[in-house]
Symmetry: C2
Subunit: 292 residues, 2 copies
């Protein structure tokens, strides 16, 4: 049996950076250190951070002094003002790529352009971006919503940094049917693009594919959808424990991929679980390949 | 039985205008009057014009004085220079919508932008547009060609005025996978958009659909493809004579559509042929509805 791990599976640059910032801040600051919202969409990492004394608070109005870490998804300008009024010391771990998208939204809003943001309206990155739009942005998460837009001379379109690049393309095509002149900013970050591309390529090579990660992670769920479209035999598991012998029955080539919030250890554990399960029932040894 | 004729079937604004210009020029000019290329992609109209003494010449270098009419598709700047050197008096019937696309290509080329033109490389409108691009344009006619483009920071995309709007959208989506920042100009003209939209809506309402027009007309062929994708029982006919009883067998609701170069009479004849064929074999009268 062969196991292939997709390129760029696991923690992306922005998430790794935010986690390091959080841990460093916890070590250096004597007082209370909070993260505004869960710093990562992964229950396991969150449990580990809580053990180190890093708790999260959902509502900025509930803050009272101390140190507050802004997570990689970023927040609306209003949130910085609230935290200031609560005398909190802010450590900003917004992903630099998301920061650039926030600046783009602000610039387009200033130009008076109508902005279409392709993304999940419930995702914190999108809530943050909306805060920079001066009310000029609409969130569009499906082709059907795009087709319901009124005809317009000019629009700008951009995407959540972890958007499914293929769905983004299809939504842009639908917006184009309603717009004469369209500025399209492909703000899907290159880590996401590479991960989605390598996962979809892997899905057409293997007979079974596991997406490892938190079910509440938007970008991991998108990887699952991308792979499932190509390979119906794709499974979304939160940890190696969920990879049962039943799911491995008859498998010869197995792919593994994980989202931006999937810790490298979770990927390694999934590989080990599959490898052990095979080696125990076979004379031959399984081969593992990490794409790079 | 019901017959429904799609909105905007038959001669578009640009074609009607070019034909009127050609006939008026023929009446007013005493000397030789030529059209540069067939003024319309329709053998029947061409035969009619020839009877009126309006012949076409393919090569501008073969012109020697006289009056030359530029057809609605437009030509490259070089062609005007050649005609001038041949002492021809030029009557320009370029469609004003195509003229605007030519100006757009010239402006983008001047800005140093890479230009992707979505269209048929063999179509005269595209040959004309290329002449304004200073070598900065690439013709892309398929998603596969778009996916073969190298990664680039910035590009502009526009379309042949009679491009299939749905294919244009899919190609834009593919170009977006290879580009960070994309300016998209939806240059598919509104007559084409309405015609394609009403034809595709009609294809999902009727059980049989006839596309009437010249097989060498690019935009008529696109209507056929759009309809055929939705309704396999779509037929491409050059004239009413090709609508045989076999094709009408079992039909209850019949759609008719035609391209920008399909004369209104050809549509009317198709309606009459179907109506007669039905009324002859039935007690009831067929209903005809012209969408507007």
């Amino acid at each position: 049996m062969e196991i292939i791990v997709a390129k760029n599976s696991g923690f992306c640059y922005g998430v790794r950076r935010a986690l390091e910032t959080a841990r460093r801040t916890r070590r250096r600051c004597a007082g209370r250190v909070l993260t505004l919202g869960d710093i990562i969409h992964n229950p396991r990492v969150i449990a580990d951070l809580e053990k180190q004394g890093l708790r999260s608070v959902q509502n900025p109005a509930a803050v009272n002094g101390g140190t507050v870490i802004i997570r990689s998804h970023g927040v609306a300008p209003e949130i910085y003002r609230i935290l200031k009024s609560k005398r909190a010391s802010v450590v900003d771990a917004t992903c630099p790529i998301v920061k650039k998208i926030q600046e783009l939204v602000a610039r387009l809003a200033e130009q008076g352009q109508e902005i279409i943001i392709v993304g999940n309206p419930a995702h914190p990155e999108i809530t943050g971006l909306l805060g920079y739009s001066r009310g000029r942005a609409r969130i569009v998460e499906s082709e059907a919503l795009a087709r319901a837009l009124p005809q317009k001379k000019s629009r700008a379109v951009l995407a959540q940094s972890t958007q499914d690049i293929f769905l983004f393309g299809r939504i842009v095509a639908a917006v184009l049917e309603r717009t004469d002149e369209l500025q399209v900013f492909n703000t899907v970050c290159r880590f996401t693009r590479t991960r989605q591309k390598s996962t979809s390529e892997l899905a057409s090579q293997v007979d079974t594919l596991f997406i490892v990660g938190g079910k509440n992670s938007s970008n991991t769920a998108k990887l699952y959808e991308i792979s499932k479209r190509i390979l119906p035999n794709t499974h979304f598991v939160e940890s190696a424990a969920q990879i049962t012998p039943r799911l491995l029955r008859g498998a010869k080539t197995i792919g593994i991929s994980g989202g931006a919030s999937t810790p490298p250890e979770a990927i390694a554990e999934a590989v080990a679980k599959i490898k052990n399960s095979f080696d125990r029932h076979s004379q031959r040894e399984s081969m593992v390949q990490w794409q790079s």
